[in-house]
């Protein structure tokens, strides 16, 4: 047998096995993480990271700076930032702005996506989903896979039920995740308009956050702030102003813009004092 053929066959079998495992998962076998763990060991987490990056590259229409080009300072993908409010100023890689190191690099830039673009057409975002699903299969404990996928499913693709199901999968694998609970709360609040469930889930998220993060020297205050803001907005929308003020007051302590939050509190207090 030719030497390269076994390599090809191994790759083929690996891909086939991957495909089968996805089907298996759909058939109801939830803990495929253990199957991947069996096949790949701990390296599956590294694969999951790569697959997650692949989804981000898809979000950028194939454009993605390699590890040799630059490393993002905070280690977050652009796609994940998008879900938190994407900062467009951190890209300066359009061809006109980019400096090529030599003529070969300039010539080579014609043959791969060398321009920073986002998926613009409505529905294009669906293309990132297979990689997020695979990332979750490889490493079910990677929380942002679920939150990012759910965001795109419900925000850009109107697939609220699929988003909820995926978040619930994530919750089963990560029962203590306040990030997934927050995303689930947003879904109930913004898409399903199911206030009691949204409130319950968001309050549970707060509880989980306090249990896991409060004692840490550098707690994830950004996430805490997001949950509180969501809860406060929910209470404000339903007319439960004292409770909204209560959440805003807690938010003020961790917000990077406490003055703005204070202003909102005062507005609500004024509204509350009106007969």
């Amino acid at each position: 047998m030719p030497p390269a053929l076994p390599i090809a066959l191994a790759l083929a079998i690996a891909l086939a096995a991957g495909g089968r495992l996805l089907l298996w998962q759909q058939a109801g076998v939830q803990d495929t993480g253990s199957v991947f763990a069996l096949l790949l060991g701990e390296s599956r987490r590294a694969f999951a990271d790569q697959v997650f990056l692949k989804a981000d590259a898809y979000f950028h229409q194939g454009y993605y700076p390699s590890v040799f080009d630059l490393a993002l300072p905070d280690g977050k993908t652009h796609m994940a930032k998008e879900t938190e409010g994407h900062d467009h100023d951190d890209h300066s890689h359009t061809p006109s702005e980019r400096e090529y190191r030599d003529w070969l690099e300039r010539f080579g830039s014609h043959f791969y996506p060398a321009e920073h673009r986002h998926m613009e057409k409505f529905g294009d975002a669906r293309e990132i989903l297979p990689w997020l699903r695979l990332s979750a299969e490889l490493d079910p404990h990677r929380v942002d896979t679920y939150t990012v996928a759910a965001y795109w499913l419900r925000e850009r693709l109107n697939k609220v039920n699929d988003a909820e199901a995926f978040l619930r999968d994530g919750l089963r694998a990560n029962p203590g995740s306040y990030e997934i609970l927050f995303e689930l709360g947003r879904l109930y609040a913004e898409n399903n308009r199911d206030v009691p469930r949204a409130r319950a889930v968001l309050e549970l998220a707060i509880e989980k956050w306090l249990r896991q993060e409060a004692g840490k020297p550098n707690p994830d205050e950004l996430a805490y702030g997001h949950i509180l803001a969501q809860l406060a907005a929910l209470e404000e929308r339903t007319g439960n102003l004292p409770q909204a003020i209560n959440h805003f007051t807690r938010l003020k302590r961790v917000s990077p813009a406490p003055d703005t939050v204070q202003k909102r509190i005062e507005e609500l207090q004024t509204k509350l004092s009106r007969p």
């Binding site: 053929l5 083929a12 891909l15 086939a16 495909g19 759909q26 989903l129």
Partner: protein
């Protein structure tokens, strides 16, 4: 030229009649089909991952076909002793090498045509579009890249006696260049002298196979590459293929056959 064509024709016939190509094609079809049958969030219009998997399989298959087909040519001629009646005819060593190169390159081109046709069908089945010019560019550049690989493998088959070692070396070198070629200059810049100059020199000397890999442009429906750039890339490939063939001829022309 008739002699070169006659030699090339036999190589093409060999590929058509051997099972390697069919196995790889069927594997590609089966794996792409399996990947396509996966239900992802109940959305049947997701296509890019499928294009990516299909193109990856095509690229792996292309390399396997090109390298294995080329690596066995000269060793098989010697092992089966067919090289003796052949070179006992008015065939120069240069014609022999050119015929083998052309045959392997044409055979690989035929295989690529079929693979890309399949890719087009897979893509069209979900995207309902047929960007022929883009596919032509991708297939053409892929074929040009394999021209360099084939010439390199032919040179290897004269240097290394065993087709298996030659095949493995060529596969590793090609895959290494495809994965790292684009970044060699950046790695060089991170090194101290004299390693920096050495690696940067290598960066310019080594054939940049990754230039011909336009899979990401095809997967994400980017615009066409300017045809002038494609023409330059073709010249680039031709120059490297010619260089490797010339080196092969230099070694082979005086080699005693016994």
């Amino acid at each position: 030229m008739n002699t070169v064509w006659a030699l090339a024709n036999v190589v093409v016939l060999e590929m058509v009649r051997r099972k390697d190509f069919y196995v790889l094609f069927i594997l590609t079809v089966l794996l792409t089909g399996t990947a396509g049958s996966v239900n992802l969030f109940n959305d049947r219009s997701i296509v890019r991952y499928l294009k990516e998997i299909c193109l990856l399989l095509i690229w792996v298959s292309g390399l396997v076909i090109a390298i294995t087909c080329t690596a066995r040519q000269i060793p098989a001629e010697r092992e089966h002793r067919t090289i003796f009646p052949l070179l006992a005819k008015p065939v120069t060593r240069a014609q022999f090498l050119l015929g083998k190169f052309l045959g392997c390159w044409l055979a690989t081109g035929l295989a690529l045509a079929l693979f890309y046709l399949f890719f087009g069908l897979v893509s069209a089945s979900r995207e309902h579009s047929w960007p022929v010019a883009n596919y032509l560019q991708a297939g053409w550049l892929h074929w040009m890249m394999l021209g360099i690989v084939i010439a390199f493998t032919l040179l290897g088959s004269i240097v290394f006696a065993a087709p298996s070692s030659n095949g493995t070396i060529c596969f590793v070198c090609s895959a290494g260049m495809l994965l790292l070629g684009r970044h060699l200059n950046k790695v060089a810049l991170s090194l101290a002298e004299p390693l920096q100059s050495l690696l940067y020199g290598l960066y310019f000397v080594l054939p940049h196979l990754e230039l011909f890999d336009v899979r990401d442009l095809i997967i994400h429906n980017w615009e066409l590459i300017p045809w002038g750039v494609v023409a330059l890339a073709t010249l680039y490939a031709a120059a490297y293929a010619a260089f490797f063939l010339f080196a092969a001829w230099l070694i082979f022309r005086r080699r005693a056959l016994n």
